[in-house]
């Protein structure tokens, strides 16, 4: 009896706190039916926002994955003075407010920033333009691949890589044949987290973007301007699309659990 009551309480709580928001998104997006909702997606500014988001995400994911793999290799396979400091540094963006993560790039590349005017004279625009958005996104997504790889690679130890070295494998062969296949689940998860965060980043991008519709608006920024412009259906349709993309990516993380049962060590 108590147990049944606790179950109801748990699911009630989950329903109220966690399931209500996605339901609201759908309800608002479809408040005038499905056709008006789909129609809002044909807006050129909306399409530009989707394209920009994908572009920024790809750049952030590719660069931070390369960095993340090399940094995890460095930080788990070598013990050198300064390693502890680097371990703290690579996790730092996680504890910095998104707005501050955007602000720092204005301090460097904004009109009043250190190098902003110099770059401006050379015709290079970083703040309030796409490069600024990319920099801010790279900053906030920097830790994800490293921090998922490090605990796993630390736990796996160096034995397999040492065996590979003695068998004559070089750095890239070890990385691609031994380390990354062994850590593929963690790598996959880290890449997905990077993707989700890159797609959905709002605060940091908002500060450096300049909010020019069709040019420097990513999906979250476009949602904001639609919402503030009382275009509720359009805002929530875009929000539904973005939330769907992001949730798919996040829930894909549990995919390897289902697929790789046969190969993984059961213990």
């Amino acid at each position: 009896m108590t147990r049944f009551f606790l179950w109801c309480a748990t699911w009630g709580l989950i329903g109220l706190v966690l399931l209500m928001p996605p339901a609201v998104i759908l309800a608002e997006a479809l408040s005038h039916g499905i056709m008006p909702a789909l129609k809002t997606l044909q807006d050129p500014d909306g399409i530009a926002a989707i394209e920009l988001t994908l572009e920024v995400t790809v750049v952030a994911v590719v660069l931070n994955t390369i960095f993340g793999i090399l940094a995890a290799w460095l930080l788990t396979r070598f013990r050198f003075p300064g390693r502890g400091l680097l371990l703290v540094l690579v996790e730092l963006p996680l504890s910095i407010s998104p707005v501050v993560s955007g602000l720092v790039w204005l301090l460097l590349f904004g009109a009043q920033g250190w190098w902003g005017s110099a770059l401006d004279r050379m015709g290079i625009q970083i703040a309030f333009a796409v490069p600024g958005i990319i920099l801010a996104t790279l900053f906030v997504t920097l830790p994800y691949v490293v921090r998922t790889l490090i605990p796993l690679m630390e736990q796996q130890g160096r034995d397999a890589e040492e065996a590979a070295t003695l068998a004559g494998a070089g750095f890239w062969q070890i990385l691609f044949r031994v380390t990354l296949p062994g850590a593929r689940v963690a790598l996959f998860s880290g890449v997905l987290m990077t993707t989700a965060r890159a797609m959905g980043e709002f605060g940091a991008v908002s500060v450096v973007s300049g909010h020019i519709p069709g040019l420097t608006e990513t999906m979250p920024l476009h949602i904001e301007s639609l919402y503030n412009g009382y275009q509720t259906v359009a805002a929530f349709t875009m929000a539904a699309l973005l939330a769907f993309m992001s949730m798919t990516v996040v829930f894909l993380r549990s995919l390897p659990d289902f697929m790789n049962r046969t190969r993984e060590d059961p213990s």
Partner: protein
Amino acid sequence: MVAGKMKKAFALFWQGGDSTLPGYRLSLTVTLVWTGFFIILPLFALALRPWQNGFGMVLNELHDTRMFAALWTSFSSAVAAALLNIPLGLFLAWMLVRGHLPGRKMADALIDLPLAIPTAVSGITLATLYSPRGWLGAPLSKIGIDVAYTRTGIVLALMFVGLPFMVRTIEPVLKNLPHELEEAARLLGARPRQVIGRVLLAPLIPTVITGFGLAFARGMGEYGSVIFIAGNQPFKSEIAPLLIVVRLQEFDYSGATAIALILLLISFLSLIFVGAVRKKLSVWTSAS
């Protein structure tokens, strides 16, 4: 002596310690360049900027009451949200690990939902949900609770984004508490309530504090999910990150940077706090 030590440390740094695995220089170079440009350089800019216009400007910023009001709003809301999340997080983690909950896998996946939904999306969604005409806002306003455009709204939004941190911090520790503990306690004559309080919850205290620290740090800097529901009235419901954006729109870079630095300081302090608690936790978990 000191010079010898420095020389030895430098040699270790240059060779990558005693490991003979390849790729040290390459990965070191890439890591140093990347963290140098993306982390050290921005932090430098942030730390130096307020002093750029002279010491007087810094003192000036300290008289900005609107800034302190906004910082207080962020701080108190983040603390309140993190505190309220403790019982919620404990309850959910407990039900996931020990509750034999039907649909446990599903519930487990749903816990991550606030992390999966982009902050701007949760912002407009929560604002709609708790607006006076919203699904939850309407019944709440009938009984006299106004959520949207008040501090209550801020706290609710922060609770939403902070909940996964709390649950995900507690869950693994709870999972690793061996069942033998309960059995031993029961054999020693503890009643069920004593088992829960003294044997199961007590070891979770450091973990709960860690979860609190993480949820608080996140809440202190949170922007997207809050601004739509907050109302953003100066001195009342304006959060610190929003004031940074306002200052930037006024081209007051020094003012924006001052707030940013204080935010950074607070999140560092909470990180140090969490680190200290984890150290204590490690005394409990590893005997050696």
